[in-house]
Symmetry: C2
Subunit: 460 residues, 2 copies
């Protein structure tokens, strides 16, 4: 697809000449995401409000071009990549926090607000927005809602879906709709809010959202536990949950992740440990003291070789910086990355860890695993050079084996990244044909001309 | 609609002769719900499993009769009432808890399990299922999911939607589908789980569900605070939230509710108080002690005339028994009840309470208000004799005024009861025409022949 000069002029009329581009050097900046797949769009437009988004989509339906919504382009499965060309609709100008309501514990924001900025803004007011994807320093709230982002705090607090009360969104056909409520509860009509949340930008363009906030916990305690073997760390996670503890975070890093991040950050991670758990507890001061003690007891019982409690918020922050640094740091091991985010029932983490180890031994591939152990959510990464066809084939076969084993254990092939383009070929291993057909028909209800973010989720 | 003998015989072949009835005296038991509206079905069938539900729905499509799913018939808006006749599909035989998984904090259950029985079963194992509609002693989990039930604990723990991880459901066309996951997270495909949750039995018949559980809190503290004026109680609720406290419950009762329940139960409620707040705090023992102290301080500051802390779990249980008794006890004030469950942003509760008082004075109607103050969710009841057309007309006009004011304050006309038949005429005050059309089209995707629970939610 290429759009005509006449169409581009109409886009300029809608968003303003300074807010549209079709220069090649600009297009290159809006053709990729964190998968490093690249497809050039035909143009990029930066609307200022819902009305402009509406006009762009009306034009797209009239002139039959694709529109691809884009937050920060930090997605892990290609959701923002314009695989069939078309116009990228970037939300970067719609980056205002509209209001933070301390009386009702809600906030209204535009979609282009950086998640980390939002965290800072609400925390200043004594409030708390739990969803914290590792990308939160640059990803946007709109992108987080579109993908139903998770993050380390999901183990206690749930995912983005659990904090979206209502949306203003623009349908692919141009109508501006309002879904959900501004109150703690609401059950009038079908739940369009959660249908759009996690729909990966295929059902509507989110133009504003009402988010639920919590009171900021009084205190947070952070500790790490080192283990000789990954299996011991995995058993520890299962044991923590079995004892009915729900910490704020239980993250794990395997030896390859630890080494990789330590080389880069030099903050004193235990480079010889087989695995590291990073855990945190929050609540009142007394609760945190209790929780930390309980965690320590479990870790000791489960053969932790070293337990360290962060002595300052600086030390705790360093640990989270290390955790967030893993994904980008992995390129040390190879120019290309295949990144998956499988989830298994928490009690099955030890099985999965054993299987990953076996796959590593069997294939000789560079496999790095880390992630949200408390959720059973494992980021499984194969580092490789895609130009080597044999290695690529082996890697792809390994992913298939991993997905099948995940599903056998009662898991899911994506906990927080979505399907996008990278998992499209696998969706029918998890979702049956009747369910997929229902989803496709819902897509057609919202987007009869298949204008919005085509070529995603559903295999053709 | 009446179904033929031949069709009835086919139903008997599917579910067994002992599990179908078309005797008038039986039909009368399946034609009503808590709204006291009555429409006789043509038959009632009691399937044993998803396969039988599937066959019933296939037959319904082939022979064009309506199917109305029914849990315990305790709904507040007519969701289970067969307004156009047809076959009531009662889930009472599908009442097994399939499994409770203490390692993964999930449970699998059939739809006909009584919510209160489920509470007892999981609590015995040290686990906790928060949703607790006032009907929990008789309502079913399937009905709760279909309506997205709430309850007093929603202020801290959210509603049924927040605890549904996955569903087995039967489409109106007969296909058995599986939605969602058995893990803490999952974002593969559109969120059919939450689309079906709260769809009031119009999109699918739920045949099994995977529910999320929490660890049972170590301790619960319960207290009541009496106030001379309802407005003072309302201000207190706003102040509690403003101070970033999220108790387990904040319920309120107005004087009429207090008197009514006390007459019936005689447990020593303060019959002269203008309003009573019933509050609870849960967590560790130290957290509960802290929380109770903070609540007491706020209540004292806000002019509570008497504060009582429940000294035993028996005393606390009596208070919750009183709270649950309100709705049925109100018939003391009149043979008929119009029951609404509006929600306003929590800071607007004082405005709403003032407005309700004014409506009471202006109209002279018997208006009783109680509910989940912590959510801003007010159960507003008009007690009347429907046979008096003038009073009925005045009551209906009053409800309209109340709904308009609710929406003006940024609220919703239903927090947990749904639309059903009783709010159908008002849905378009809250939901716009484009959004309603989307919902109707989704209904058509699921139910092309309009077989399942027709005549609900959407005004014709």
């Amino acid at each position: 697809m290429t759009i005509s000069n006449a169409t581009f002029t109409k886009l300029e009329a809608i968003a303003g000449r300074d807010h549209c581009t079709c220069k090649k050097e600009d297009l290159a900046c809006y053709g990729y995401d964190a998968t490093a797949r690249m497809h050039l769009p035909d143009a990029v437009v930066f609307p200022e409000n819902a009305r402009q988004i509406s006009s762009i989509l009306e034009l797209a339906n009239a002139e039959k071009f694709f529109v691809i919504p884009r937050g920060a382009g930090s997605g892990m499965t290609g959701g923002a990549v314009p695989v069939r060309g078309g116009v990228v609709l970037a939300t970067s100008r719609m980056n205002n926090i509209i209001s933070i309501d301390t009386d009702n514990l809600i906030a209204d924001t535009q979609p282009g607000v950086i998640t980390g900025h939002f965290h800072v803004a609400v925390e200043k007011m004594g409030l708390f927005y739990p969803p914290d994807p590792a990308s939160s320093d640059f990803s946007t709230l709109g992108g987080n809602v579109a993908e139903c982002a998770g993050g380390p705090r999901a183990v206690k607090y749930g995912v983005t879906r659990d904090y979206v009360l209502g949306l203003e969104a623009v349908l692919p056909t141009g109508e501006i709709i309002h879904t959900g409520v501004r109150t703690a509860k609401g059950v009038v009509g079908y739940d369009l809010t959660r249908l759009i949340t996690g729909s990966e930008g295929t059902l509507a363009v989110i133009s504003a959202m009402t988010l639920k906030l919590l009171p900021l916990p009084e205190a947070v305690g952070t500790m790490t536990a080192s283990f000789d073997r990954m299996e011991d760390a995995a058993d520890t996670v299962s044991e923590i949950i079995r004892q009915s503890m729900i910490p704020r975070n239980i993250e794990f890093m395997d030896n390859a992740s630890i080494q990789c991040v330590e080389t880069q950050l030099k903050i004193g991670l235990p480079v010889n440990a087989g695995a590291l758990l990073i855990m945190a507890v929050d609540g009142s001061h007394s609760e945190v003291a209790d929780g930390m003690e309980k965690l320590r007891t479990v870790c000791e019982k489960m053969r932790a070789t070293e337990i360290r409690v962060a002595q300052s918020s600086q030390e705790a922050q360093n640990l989270w910086r290390a955790r967030k640094a893993i994904s980008p740091a992995l390129f040390k091991y190879g120019p290309d990355k295949i990144n998956e985010d499988i989830v298994v029932p928490r009690s099955k983490i030890p099985d999965m860890v054993r299987r990953i180890k076996a796959l590593k031994d069997e294939t000789g591939l560079t496999i790095v695993a880390f992630g949200h152990a408390g959720d059973g959510n494992i980021h499984f990464n194969i580092m490789l050079d895609r130009r080597n066809p044999e290695v690529l084939k082996l890697a792809e076969k390994t992913i298939e084996t991993l997905f099948d084993y995940t599903l056998e254990l009662g898991g899911t092939i994506s906990g927080e990244h979505g399907v996008g383009i990278t998992k499209m070929a696998f969706i029918n291993r998890e979702i049956g044909p009747v369910e997929l057909l229902l989803m496709k028909k819902i897509k057609t209800v919202f987007d009869p001309n298949d204008i919005l973010n085509p070529g995603k989720i559903f295999p053709v």
